[in-house]
């Protein structure tokens, strides 16, 4: 099952790597968000370090949606999804492969946008880099498990580009809120232990929703 999942992830990543369309769109979005947030707040009243966690996780959420929309959107062209379903691969493996490719995408955007936020807002990021990567990984897993499932559900509906965010965003709340809070604690120089209760929510969310989405996924495909 994992070999098949890896194959599907590789296929999706190859498509994205050769076109780079969603990735570049996500990066442009990240730069735009960084500058708009900066000018929307009075820089003398709100210090950049208070602003940064919000900016970081808004970028994470919406750039993630850009990638997730393509995840099953690409399969709709020429009904490629039919070939995928006709192949002797478990539906769960299709889900895991798709989700893994999306995770790589989301983390790839984060790998550039976290340094970018640190660069533009002048943040002392090196000393909290380890915990920050852990938060990004945990939040990314939660985001892509929900997002991959909803991408499959909305891809062949009317209004798919509208429906994916409408359905996903309420589910992203328990991911983004703890992630932003934990990031704020870390950037403020508090010990990691203070962010632990937030991390526990993220871990619990990941476990529950990865399992639930993997089980629910076959229901969204059968014909």
């Amino acid at each position: 099952m994992f070999a098949a999942a890896a194959l599907i992830a590789r296929k999706d990543l190859a498509i994205e790597f050769r076109t780079r369309s969603a990735f570049l769109a996500a990066l442009v979005f990240a730069l735009l968000a960084i500058s708009i947030f900066y000018f929307a707040w009075d820089a003398t009243a709100v210090s950049a370090i208070d602003l940064a966690p919000g900016v970081l996780w808004v970028i994470f959420t919406f750039s993630g949606l850009l990638g997730l929309h393509r995840s099953f959107g690409v399969e709709e062209a020429d009904r490629a999804i039919d070939a995928l379903l006709a192949s002797p691969i478990d539906r769960e493996a299709v889900f895991l492969g798709k989700a893994f490719a999306n995770l790589v995408f989301v983390l790839g955007v984060q790998a550039l946008s976290i340094p970018a936020v640190a660069f533009f807002y002048n943040l002392p990021i090196t000393r909290v880099l380890g915990p920050l990567v852990a938060i990004a990984l945990l939040a990314g897993i939660g985001l892509v498990s929900i997002g991959t499932l909803f991408s499959a559900m909305t891809a062949n509906t009317r209004l798919s580009e509208l429906l994916l965010p409408v359905l996903s965003l309420p589910f992203f709340v328990p991911v983004v809120l703890p992630a932003a809070q934990a990031t704020a604690r870390l950037l403020a120089g508090r010990p990691v232990s203070e962010a632990m209760s937030w991390l526990r929510i993220l871990i619990a969310f990941d476990i529950v929703f990865v399992v639930a989405c993997a089980f629910a996924f076959p229901f969204t495909l059968e014909d």
Partner: protein, 244 residues
């Protein structure tokens, strides 16, 4: 698929809906004229008799029905379960909208603010979003079987989401105590108020049931009509390609 479901009573008098409307009217009259005015909050507290029963129905009854009927649908594949879930969701959105409108109206004079980011308020807001998303999703899918499966999945995941939103917002508040006027812990109600409140709950449950029944019959009629149209034009019986 032949329309085997019984035809909806057309033009018949809906005694359940009439009884529900009468019960709600009677509750309002009792709440306004025959229930004592609360000492601290004054007349503003009367909105409690609309707000709390609506919240109970929107958050627990309607959401519970959507999740349970969705889960059962995935297991039994009975289209009646899907209609029940859809009807409960649609009526539930109405009740939750009432909650979100009456809440701030009550909050402004009593708390001094329209809104606080209290765990319950936030949960209600996000569940309202999930419910509206559920209805938009249903509207965007033509194939009844696909629509039923997708909405069942969404209903079940929505039920899983509740504890997480509650927990994260609760933690947010407790770690960040803000100078907000908290909702006063509700004192045990004096008997006359309690009677009115229970009456209101009963009346609203009746109204909810009546509206769900009306909506369910509409769904039956709609499905029968769709089947009729499908059997009239055999060329259309192929599954339509998804529109882009």
């Amino acid at each position: 698929m032949p329309a085997s479901s019984p035809p909806a009573e057309r033009g018949g008098f809906d005694w359940l809906l009439a009884a529900a409307v009468l019960a709600v009217a009677a509750t309002f009259i009792r709440a306004i004229y025959f229930t004592p005015v609360e000492a601290l909050q004054g007349a503003a507290q009367k909105i409690f008799y609309i707000h709390a029963p609506s919240a109970f129905i929107g958050l627990y009854v309607a959401f519970g029905i959507v999740a349970v009927a969705g889960g059962l649908y995935l297991w039994l594949r009975d289209e009646r379960l899907d209609r029940v879930a859809a009807s409960a969701a649609e009526v539930g959105v109405v009740f939750m909208t009432v909650v979100l409108i009456t809440g701030p109206m009550w909050g402004k004079p009593i708390w001094g603010a329209w809104w606080t980011w209290d765990a319950r308020l936030t949960l209600t807001l996000f569940l309202w979003c999930v419910f509206v998303g559920y209805l938009i999703l249903r509207g965007a899918i033509d194939d009844p079987a696909v629509r039923a499966r997708y909405s069942a999945v969404l209903g079940l995941l929505g039920a899983l989401l509740v504890p997480f939103i509650h927990l994260s917002v609760y933690l947010f508040r407790t770690l960040h105590p803000m100078p907000i006027v908290l909702k006063p812990s509700r004192p045990s109600l004096p008997p006359s108020m309690l009677t009115t409140f229970l009456m209101a709950c009963l009346a609203f449950v009746l109204l909810f049931a009546a509206l769900v029944r009306v909506r369910y019959r509409l769904a039956v009629a709609e499905d029968a009509l769709a089947d009729e149209e499908l059997s009239e034009s055999p060329a259309m019986s192929l599954r339509p390609e998804s529109a882009h």
